[in-house]
């Protein structure tokens, strides 16, 4: 009787391992910055239309999380980072060929407010009003460090204490940009600093733009990984992202294409 159970167990393990070793269709795994979520979901639809034989699976998270996962040996074919720094870390670790990484879109920072604007924010100056609740991404997250750069640039527009006064209103440093958006959507905070593309994906929120001269340009880099299980599929996906179709989809979601 016990032997039967054991055989069943071994059989189960066998079936399980077969399942994970031989998927029905070749599968490409993409690690993409959280801010790319909506755009890449759409992009994948288009890509699958052209390549119905390929299954695309995407893992979205903060670029810094994905970078750490790849450094620790996670299997993926393509990495799309919201800044160059995390890509450079992978190049330094020889997980990406230096000349294979390329910038595929750029993005900028905006301030978003809940639809009913509970703190009655009218200008960027109101972000420094004592008692306002502001949420940003943590400084380790690309959008978090970009947001800090923008605030310090805005010191030049207002006064040298501006950044410090705004940061006094910070109630949480989130782990990725989608967590920032979620807190604003829930109405738990008065303002959040996110990418322009995130604001496009959350049309119910009020957007407070940041003047061009004080804003940053976030360069998004994409590259196949040297240890990619499917280098040919990775190449095909990259090609699609940089094609006019792929770039048009990215533009529709608020990104600035590098190939107009």
């Amino acid at each position: 009787m016990k032997k039967h159970v054991l055989y069943l167990l071994i059989f189960g393990l066998f079936v399980f391992s077969r399942c994970s070793m031989q998927p029905a269709k070749p599968e490409i795994t993409i690690f993409a910055a959280a801010s790319l979520t909506e755009a890449f979901n759409f992009l994948t639809l288009g890509f699958s239309g052209q390549h119905p034989e390929i299954t695309v699976s995407i893992s979205y998270s903060g670029s810094q999380t994905l970078r750490t996962q790849i450094l620790e040996g996670a299997q993926a074919d393509v990495f799309a980072s919201a800044n160059l720094k995390h890509m450079d870390d992978l190049i330094a670790a020889r997980l990406v060929e230096p000349d294979h990484s390329q910038v595929f879109v750029t993005n900028q920072i905006v301030v978003v407010l809940p639809a009913d604007n509970p703190a009655d924010v009218r200008t960027l100056e109101s972000l420094a009003t004592p008692g306002l609740k502001l949420v940003m991404a943590a400084p380790e997250v690309p959008v978090g460090s970009y947001s800090l750069d923008v605030l310090s640039a805005l010191n030049g527009l207002y006064d040298p204490t501006y950044q410090a006064r705004v940061l006094a209103n910070l109630v949480s440093s989130e782990e990725n940009v989608k967590q920032v958006i979620a807190k604003v959507q829930l109405g738990e905070v008065d303002a959040g600093m996110v990418y322009r593309s995130d604001a496009v994906a959350a049309p119910e929120l009020i957007v407070l733009p940041i003047p061009e001269e004080y804003n940053i340009t976030a360069e998004y880099a994409i590259a196949p990984l040297t240890a990619a299980p499917h280098p040919d599929l990775a190449e095909a996906f990259l090609e699609y992202v940089l094609s006019s179709k792929g770039q048009a989809i990215l533009e529709r979601w608020g990104f600035t294409p590098v190939r107009p």
Binding site: G62, Q64, T65, T68, V171, S172, E175, L186, E188
Partner: protein, 263 residues
């Protein structure tokens, strides 16, 4: 005889596989931490702040849980009333609930758009993103462990002890203080340690409901998670520190359990 031996080996093999699965990650964590030898990051302000927030909130939570959880455990153990089974299930629910569900539930209850939170806001109280929110999350997630342990402890006390004390003219409060508490002290202590250790390790509900701000709501587990993204050696060191705290509290728990059983 042969059959017996086969079964024995099967038992040993399966148990070993399980024990190894538990031991390997812990060994790897210690080995990697030693390898990266990053004792210096222990003294960074952010790490110290996380340690302070963690100790402050977990001890506050424990105090709150003991004060209101002990009477609840007593009522659940001794009183018969309609809906008792429901109440018991309600108390056990957070133990099996994913912490992220707990965090979301707390947010829609106590957030400023929440069921209670909107009323609190009218009184000028806003809970999310405060140290109080960390405590609330810990009480919600860890408190039930204490209530459960103490309820079982109270239920195991011989009812005749209480009846005898009642016959001697003791008041209910005296019975609770001089009969129930000493008789169930083992359960009280082990429940408290379990609750504290769980509160110290709370992550999911905290990051959702209380957010993450150094010195205010960033506890040790949150600091570990976020330092993973920047400096992995700092994360490793914090992780080892947490491991030692958890290990020590478990050892203490075993010692106390043995001690109470002997007495």
């Amino acid at each position: 005889m042969v059959r017996w031996r086969q079964t024995t080996w099967l038992l040993i093999l399966l148990s070993l596989a399980f024990a190894l699965l538990l031991a390997l990650p812990i060994i790897a964590l210690l080995a990697r931490a030693v390898q990266q030898s990053a004792i210096s990051s222990l003294s960074t302000p952010a790490t110290l702040a996380a340690l302070r927030v963690s100790l402050l909130t977990s001890l506050t939570s424990l105090g709150l849980v003991i004060v209101s959880g002990t009477p609840l455990a007593y009522i659940l153990a001794r009183w018969q009333f309609r809906g008792r089974a429901w109440l018991e299930t309600l108390v056990d629910l957070p133990i099996v609930m994913p912490p992220s569900v707990a965090g979301l539930a707390l947010l829609v209850a106590f957030g400023r758009r929440g069921l209670i939170g909107a009323l609190l806001l009218d009184l000028g109280i806003s809970l999310p993103f405060t140290t109080a929110a960390v405590v609330l999350a810990q009480v919600f997630v860890a408190g039930p462990l204490y209530v459960r342990a103490v309820r079982v402890g109270f239920a195991a006390v011989d009812e005749q002890l209480e009846e005898a004390a009642l016959a001697e003219g003791a008041t209910p409060i005296q019975i609770f203080r001089y009969v129930m508490l000493p008789a169930a002290r083992g359960a009280l202590v082990s429940g408290a340690i379990l609750c504290w250790a769980r509160a110290l390790g709370e992550f999911g509900a905290t990051i959702l409901f209380a957010g993450n701000l150094i010195g205010r709501t960033q506890t040790m587990p949150l600091a570990i998670y976020l330092s993973l993204e920047g400096d992995i050696s700092e994360a490793l060191l914090l992780a080892v520190l947490m491991l030692f705290i958890s290990g020590a509290s478990l050892l203490l728990l075993r010692r106390l359990e043995e001690h109470w059983q002997v007495v």
